[in-house]
């Protein structure tokens, strides 16, 4: 029982499970804050109903997201103590700042939002939701900045046998981290928009609560359209930066084995890591990889075989995850643009509604695949170029990790099952009648 492999698996389980809930929290909090603001401004009861209905789904999702977040902070110490010791000076401070400036705000004000309906005016209550939304997204900014350091470490110097901070602003404004923020936050909005549209589509297909869900759908559509375009745009920028600072990851993303100029993009391939080439290649577009990576059709792109054998990321997983993410991202843009032109004729577009209903899981898949590209593609490094994952693990016994891993899978499996069951149950029930609250 290898503690490195088991700890990696446990971290993957804990992180990917947590990230099933976080994006919806990030995106939906903004959508709900917007709805509640409309209610506070206009007094239109339907907006209050929307706030309550989507708010209920939000809170179930929030609960699972928030409790599984504690795990992640703990895990750096429990399972990756060598890593924590080595980069804590830089990385630890980002996590501590996240807790003190963002997570506190989110967790305190969500309590006020849940219990404060009769304690606050409508405007103040909507303001509380904005604080929750801003704090949640700001929290993500710090976490992504921390991840940015792992991807492309800057602003540090090696002293006293560890990485110590040498320039705080370089760490904060690390281009890699900024691009991650610019890519992940809109993708969270996109996921939330698809969630709202998918559930709305279900009710519209059943021809119930038509006004309520038609309006919800249209609000989400605006968010979804903007978010899908932004996600695609920043994803492209991000890819160029990866080409520059993480050439091995880029090569793995594209299953690009041999260094050459005018490198092609291969639409479909079956990469084989043992022989160092693709077993099957279909649809090769010459020069495109050079162009996408370096904005020059003749640029030379380093191939995987050019890297030492112990510095190559797993190619098959990275390649496949990247293709799924980009394919789905393209689909989202198409659906959103189409939806925009059909927005007033939704009831006459049952096929589109059906597609949107069944599309609810797709952004979840895309966003998880994005993390697989980012994290698996960075291997064998835990901090790119600085520390290997195999050197980062705690001096703990494999059986300990095995037991905790099994416990995580069982508990998270149950939580996920119950959480999604409750979300589905409440989503199907539809909006309940509301009475206008008056502050005591």
């Amino acid at each position: 029982m290898d503690p490195v492999f088991l700890s990696r698996l446990q971290f993957a389980v804990a992180t990917m499970f947590h990230f099933l809930f976080v994006p919806l929290t990030l995106g939906l909090s903004i959508i709900i804050a917007w709805m509640e603001t409309q209610y506070a401004r206009t007094g239109d009861k339907v907006y209050l109903q929307m706030t309550k209905f989507w708010g209920k789904l939000f809170l179930i999702n929030f609960a699972v997201g928030v409790v599984t977040g504690i795990t992640l902070e703990f895990q750096f110490g429990t399972n990756w103590s060598r890593y924590s010791e080595y980069v804590g000076d830089v990385f630890g401070s980002l996590l501590a700042i996240e807790a003190s400036v963002a997570f506190f705000l989110e967790s305190t004000f969500i309590g006020i939002w849940i219990f404060g309906w009769k304690k606050l005016s409508a405007k103040a209550h909507a303001g509380v939701m904005w604080l929750v939304a801003i704090a949640g997204n700001f929290s993500a900014v710090w976490i992504l900045t921390a991840n940015g350091f792992m991807q492309h470490p800057v602003g540090y110097t090696i002293r006293n046998g560890r990485a110590e901070m040498s320039n705080f602003f370089e760490v904060l404004f690390n281009k890699f981290g900024l691009l991650e923020i610019a890519h992940v936050l809109p993708s969270a909005c996109l996921l939330a928009a698809f969630f709202v549209m998918g559930i709305s589509a279900w009710h519209l297909l059943k021809k119930q609560h038509i006004d309520f869900f038609h309006r919800s759908f249209k609000i989400a559509l605006v968010f979804g359209l903007v978010a899908s375009l932004l996600t695609g745009f920043t994803g492209d920028l991000h890819g160029t930066h990866v080409a520059e600072v993480q050439p091995a990851k880029l090569a793995a993303m594209e299953a690009h084995w041999e260094t050459k100029s005018s490198a092609p993009i291969i639409m479909f391939a079956i990469p084989d890591e043992d022989s160092g080439k693709n077993l099957i290649e279909i649809g090769s577009i010459p020069g495109l990889l050079s162009f996408l990576g370096f904005h020059d059709f003749n640029a030379t792109v380093r191939g995987i075989n050019d890297f030492p054998a112990d510095e190559r990321p797993p190619v098959l997983i990275t390649f496949a995850a990247f293709r799924i993410m980009v394919g789905l991202g393209t689909l989202f843009i198409i659906l959103m643009v189409y939806g925009w032109f059909r927005r007033e004729k939704l009831m006459e577009s049952p096929l589109f509604l059906k597609i949107m209903l069944f599309s609810i899981p797709l952004p979840y898949i895309a966003i998880e695949m994005g993390w697989v590209v980012a994290e698996v593609g960075r291997q064998p490094w835990i901090v790119y170029g600085l520390m290997k994952t195999s050197e980062a693990v705690s001096p703990i016994a494999g059986y300990q990790v095995m037991i905790s891993l099994i416990a995580f899978i069982v508990i998270y499996g149950l939580l996920g099952g119950v959480g999604y069951y409750l979300i589905a149950k409440n989503a199907v029930k539809g909006p309940l009648p509301v009475k206008i609250h008056v502050k005591n």
Partner: protein
């Protein structure tokens, strides 16, 4: 030196605030199966901590985060050597957190009973295990110069460790009972005030035994012998604990709660001052001790983090106090629904 000393005590302060705030909701959750006879009782108990527990728990994240930022090696060795107890605490907190949200979702007795159990386990286990863990830290943890732990979870359950667990558990139960006494009325209120007195009666001897046992099991008193002025902290913890009884008898529950809060904070500082400058002592050899002076972050990180903490922690305390004010007083009928 000064920077590291400041950070050592800030580190202690954050743990103390965590125990003070999350402590009373752990206490309420621990008393939940005892006091929660009817559905209304249970609803009242949950809603009394409903707006606060999540914000309180962030003090744990912050205490952990600050350990990571200011003393990375302490964070690394502490969390990896206490692997099993920390993960048990984590699972307990996870179950408790979702229980508050899930419980009311389905009107079914069996369903509610599952989450009732999770609320209890999720409050009882952390209250007990944090006590066990901290008593063991006071005593020393068997790890070597490489930060490798040579022990197992059963070794944490030595008599002094168990005593620490019991002390924390009773402290939090009293603190939670004071909170409930302040928030409830009627039959539940009568039962909780009677119970608070009983908890107090058990807690006082346990606290005395703990103070005495600390002289034998730990080196905490060395610092007090060197600087007798610090004995004041021990005096505060003893006096504030005695005063709780006085305020309970006078039915001044807010003051009783403030007193138990002070007891928890001063008890934490009893240990922190005794440890100084060691954050994580090794039981194997004192040369492996992780101290504020040998194992802190760089002066730059400590300075930046000090700036962040000095600005934002008062802000956090400010809006959390506003929350307590917003939801102050006994639970009204309207607040019973959610």
């Amino acid at each position: 030196m000064i920077l590291q000393t400041i950070w050592f005590f800030l580190w202690g302060l954050l743990w103390a605030i965590f125990f003070m705030t999350d402590g009373f909701d752990f206490g309420v959750g621990t008393l939940y199966p005892v006091l929660g006879k009817s559905e209304e009782d249970k609803r009242a108990m949950i809603n009394s901590i409903g707006p606060f527990w999540d914000g309180n728990e962030v003090w744990l994240i912050t205490a952990g985060g600050v350990t990571f930022a200011a003393f990375p090696k302490v964070y690394a060795v502490m969390f990896s050597s206490l692997y099993t107890p920390l993960l048990l605490i984590l699972f307990a907190l996870i179950l408790r957190g979702v229980a508050f949200e899930f419980r009311g979702q389905i009107e079914n007795q069996g369903w509610k009973r599952i989450w009732d159990l999770c609320i209890f386990i999720g409050s009882f286990v952390p209250a007990l295990l944090f006590g066990v863990a901290f008593a063991n830290i006071f005593r020393g943890i068997p790890f070597d110069g490489q930060g490798i732990y040579h022990g197992n979870i059963l070794m944490l359950l030595n008599p002094y460790g168990v005593l620490g667990g019991l002390l924390f558990l009773l402290l939090f139960m009293l603190h939670g009972a004071n909170w409930l006494a302040m928030k409830t009325e009627g039959d539940l209120h009568e039962r909780v005030t009677a119970l608070a007195q009983k908890i107090w009666l058990v807690l006082v001897p346990v606290a005395v035994i703990f103070l005495v046992a600390s002289a034998f099991a730990t080196r905490l008193y060395d610092n007090y012998i060197k600087n007798p002025a610090f004995v004041l902290v021990i005096a505060i913890s003893v006096i504030s604990l005695l005063i709780v009884k006085f305020f309970l008898a006078r039915r001044e529950y807010f003051k009783a709660w403030c007193s138990s809060a002070l007891t928890i904070v001063s008890c934490t500082f009893f240990g922190i001052i005794g440890l100084f400058p060691v954050l994580f002592p090794s039981l194997i050899d004192s040369k492996y001790h992780l101290t504020a002076f040998n194992d802190s972050s760089s002066p730059m990180t400590l300075t930046i983090m000090l700036g962040v903490v000095v600005i934002f922690i008062p802000v956090v305390i400010g809006y959390q106090m506003w929350t307590y004010k917003l939801f102050q007083g006994r639970l009204s009928k309207e607040e019973m629904e959610y």
